[in-house]
């Protein structure tokens, strides 16, 4: 029971009314109780993309308060990380952000490798980069498609899934799985790309260059879409920094922060120096800086940048082994490491502590969706109910990761 309903006390009771009537009072006052309407958006609601619950307080169509509630999908991932061996934990990382499993694998592998201090073969790094960037595209396609779905445009969703299907097929070819890959291992990648795979990736890049224009014209530049998203859910640059937002959420507010460039890992500094990609930023083109439209458009542009990175990797790919030589039973030297990588949703950080054994002492995950979520409470009040759906969609949360 919320504060408002708990403290509710009728201003005029029935006894008061009767007393008033007995005293011959002509005016009969009804005790009309007016409070804001409290509705639970979720845990089973089409707009929350999973089992998140947002308690919305609404005055008619106007949202006056919003409170996200989490924990419906909690699976103790971090605790499991402190109870299984280093390599055994890898499949669990797939399950945080199930739309970007390659990225999660990478984050964990890089953190363990930082503790191990080993050299990764260059071909493995290249394959990793290709997979991670393709996975970023797949993830943004879902984010963008479901955003259209949130606003009532069904068709772009299916178009996005058409391209995503191709990507999943590519992933299936390289590692046999469509969603939870566990392909990026500690020390490299599980296996080399099958023959013809790299050519197919190049083919995908060529096709995608044409397709993303379709998304932009069909949905991003649609008049109703702009009306629904521009000036809605504005996150000012100051707010974005205060809440520690990362990824497209912070870039949508115009803050130039991308871990791939600013805290480079793997070969991203090399790619950046080669000028192969830019960091798209929100510009307030259709409304204010940092509105929903900006955030979504940053994602759409990032897909194109990812294609550029993949192209660069395909052009510069090296021959050689795809995984470093590691013992069967991994014992990690004592120490601690934190590695943050740029996931499609923001900074995915792994903080690992080892005492030299087979199992981590501490495995802490900083999930981007979880850290991007609290801003909802600040930007959702004083919008319309329909806007709140647009705002939730533009934060692009994956519940598997907020709860872990």
């Amino acid at each position: 029971m919320s504060e408002q309903t708990k403290d509710y006390k009728p201003s005029i009771t029935i006894a008061d009314q009767q007393a008033a009537a007995n005293n011959g009072a002509r005016e009969f006052m009804m005790d009309v109780r007016t409070t804001d309407l409290e509705v639970n958006m979720g845990p089973q609601h089409p707009a929350t993309h999973g089992v998140m619950r947002i308690l919305i307080r609404a005055d008619g169509e106007l949202v006056t308060g919003a409170q996200p509630h989490l924990g419906y999908l909690h699976r103790c991932a971090e605790k499991i990380g402190e109870n299984v061996e280093w390599l055994q934990y890898l499949p669990y990382t797939d399950r945080y952000d199930y739309l970007a499993a390659m990225n999660n694998n990478l984050g964990y592998s890089l953190a363990v490798e930082a503790l191990l201090g080993i050299e990764i073969p260059r071909r493995a790094t290249m394959l990793r980069t290709i997979c991670v960037e393709l996975n970023r595209i797949a993830s943004h396609l879902v984010a963008f498609g479901t955003y259209g779905l949130d606003l009532g445009a069904f068709t772009p969703f299916l178009y996005c899934f058409r391209e995503r299907e191709w990507l999943l097929m590519l992933f299936e070819k390289i590692c046999g799985a469509r969603l939870t890959y566990s392909y990026l291992r500690i020390g490299g990648v599980f296996n080399d790309a099958p023959p013809g795979w790299l050519e197919e990736v190049a083919n995908f890049c060529d096709v995608f260059d044409e397709k993303w224009v379709e998304y932009r014209d069909l949905l991003m530049m649609n008049h109703i879409f702009i009306k629904r998203t521009a000036d809605v859910g504005v996150i000012t640059p100051e707010q974005a920094l205060d809440f520690g937002l990362t990824g497209p959420m912070v870039r949508g507010s115009g803050i130039d922060w991308d871990l791939r460039r600013d805290m480079p890992y793997m070969i991203y500094d090399e790619i950046w120096k080669a000028g192969a990609f830019q960091v798209p930023l929100g510009s307030g083109a259709q409304g204010q800086l940092g509105d929903c439209w900006d955030r979504v458009y940053v994602r759409v542009q990032e897909m194109v940048e990812s294609i550029k990175i993949v192209r660069w990797c395909l052009a510069n790919i090296a021959e050689g082994p795809t995984i470093a030589e590691l013992p069967k039973v991994l014992r990690v030297p004592p120490g601690e490491a934190y590695v943050g990588i740029e996931n499609p949703r923001g900074e995915l950080g792994h903080y690992l502590v080892s005492d030299g054994g087979k199992i981590a002492v501490r495995c802490r995950v900083r999930g981007p969706s979880f850290c991007n979520l609290p801003i909802l409470e600040d930007i959702m009040p004083h919008t319309f109910l329909a806007d709140s759906v647009a705002i939730i969609g533009s934060t692009d949360v994956v519940i598997g990761e907020t709860d872990r």
């Binding site: 309407l37 509705v39 609601h45 089409p46 707009a47 008619g60 169509e61 259209g148 779905l149 949130d150 606003l151 009532g152 445009a153 069904f154 068709t155 299916l158 178009y159 058409r162 949905l219 649609n222 109703i224 879409f225 009306k227 629904r228 319309f384 109910l385 329909a386 806007d387 759906v389």
Partner: protein, 365 residues
């Protein structure tokens, strides 16, 4: 034959002498209502199937392909059987009577409105001089059904849907009624059959929308208002799948839920047909003109006219589906703004313009 019921005229001579008049009328009424119910059922079946196929092809899919063989034509039938055989669920806390009554009111209103629609120039259930008024009056009754459903469901989402429906329909009934005045000014009758007959010149292409530019503009406004009236995207706020779960439909399931859909498709067809009658020729097309010239106003002409109406109505439904699967949904304040701020004044201007245009035409000729 210009009054009363065409069926009655057909069947009355066939009745034996000992049958009293009221029995004949009653039989005719039952047959007529059965025909309308059959039409509604057919429209709903064809509509759901078409919606799935159209949306599928817009979205690079096939849609239903298996049930019944050819392009899954029996999918809607199979769905209907499934829905009928489902458990009839009424949520605890719902207002049972209202909950059960709501879909019937919706469907009843659409039945009544469809009864006023002629199926061919000489086949109608009532030669009603205020036919279009009757259709508009009964189709606005559907709102009551929706509000009733939303209130009776005892769900906040349903209530939201109902409130949105009420607000939206009130906003769009105004331009809907006013824009219809423009073609009525030109044609000079409320009767649907007469309105259709008046458009038979120019080889069946003397459509009202082409006779007066203001009528053409008002046809667009009318179509937009029809979208809002029938709760179709981008005005599907009462259902608003991603916002309100399913709006006023949230708590409904099984056969009651399917009744809402029957109503939706019947209303879509009805309003498309009204658009056709008062803007785009009604029964008249070059084909019906040819049939008239070659065979007279016999059964062939009637059949061609009926098919013309079906094609025009289906095209209207196709347009609605096309829009639904292309556009995002508007927000409630934008819906209101559009209705009150733009469509209503524009509709008034159209009526004024159409009147002036007609007056000038009259003065010149």
């Amino acid at each position: 034959m210009n009054d009363g019921n065409a069926l009655l005229h057909l069947l009355q001579p066939l009745a034996p002498d000992f049958v009293p008049d009221w029995a004949v009328v009653l039989t005719v009424a039952i047959i007529g209502v059965s025909i309308v119910i059959a039409i509604v059922g057919l429209i709903a079946l064809a509509g759901t199937w078409a919606e799935r196929k159209v949306s599928a092809h817009i979205q690079c899919r096939y849609g239903p392909m298996y049930v019944g063989g050819w392009h899954g034509w029996a999918q809607a039938l199979a769905d209907g059987i499934k829905l009928i055989s489902k458990e009839d669920m009424i949520p605890i806390g719902a207002d049972r009577k209202l909950f059960m009554l709501a879909p019937s009111i919706l469907l009843g209103a659409v039945f009544a409105a469809l009864c006023a629609m002629p199926l061919a120039p000489a086949f109608y259930f009532g030669y009603i001089d205020l036919g279009v008024f009757m259709i508009l009056a009964f189709s606005s009754l559907t709102t009551i059904g929706v509000v009733m459903a939303g209130w009776a469901s005892n769900s906040k989402w349903s209530l939201y849907g109902a409130m949105r429906e009420a607000a939206q329909v009130v906003a769009y009934e105004i331009p809907l009624g006013i824009t219809l005045l423009a073609p009525l000014l030109v044609v000079g009758t409320f009767n649907l059959v007469e309105a259709s007959n008046a458009q038979a010149d120019y080889f069946g292409m003397g459509w009202l929308a082409f006779k007066n530019p203001f009528v053409l503009v008002s046809s667009v406004i009318f179509f937009i208002a029809v979208l809002a009236e029938t709760k179709r995207a981008p005005f599907d706020l009462p259902e608003a799948e991603s916002e309100l779960v399913a709006g006023f439909l949230t708590e409904y399931s099984g056969i009651r839920w399917s009744l809402f859909f029957m109503e939706e498709y019947a209303a879509m067809f009805l309003m498309s047909a009204v658009t056709a009658f008062f803007f785009f020729g009604g029964f008249e097309s070059p084909f019906s003109y040819l049939a008239m010239q070659s065979f007279g106003d016999g059964i062939v002409y009637q059949l061609v006219c009926f098919l013309t109406l079906v094609v025009k109505g289906s095209f209207g439904i196709f347009m609605m589906m096309w829009l639904r699967w292309t556009l995002p949904r508007l927000r409630i304040d934008q819906v209101m703004t559009m209705g009150y701020k733009y469509l209503t004044p524009l509709a008034l201007i159209c009526v004024l313009g159409a009147g002036i245009w007609e007056a000038i035409k009259h003065a010149v000729s």
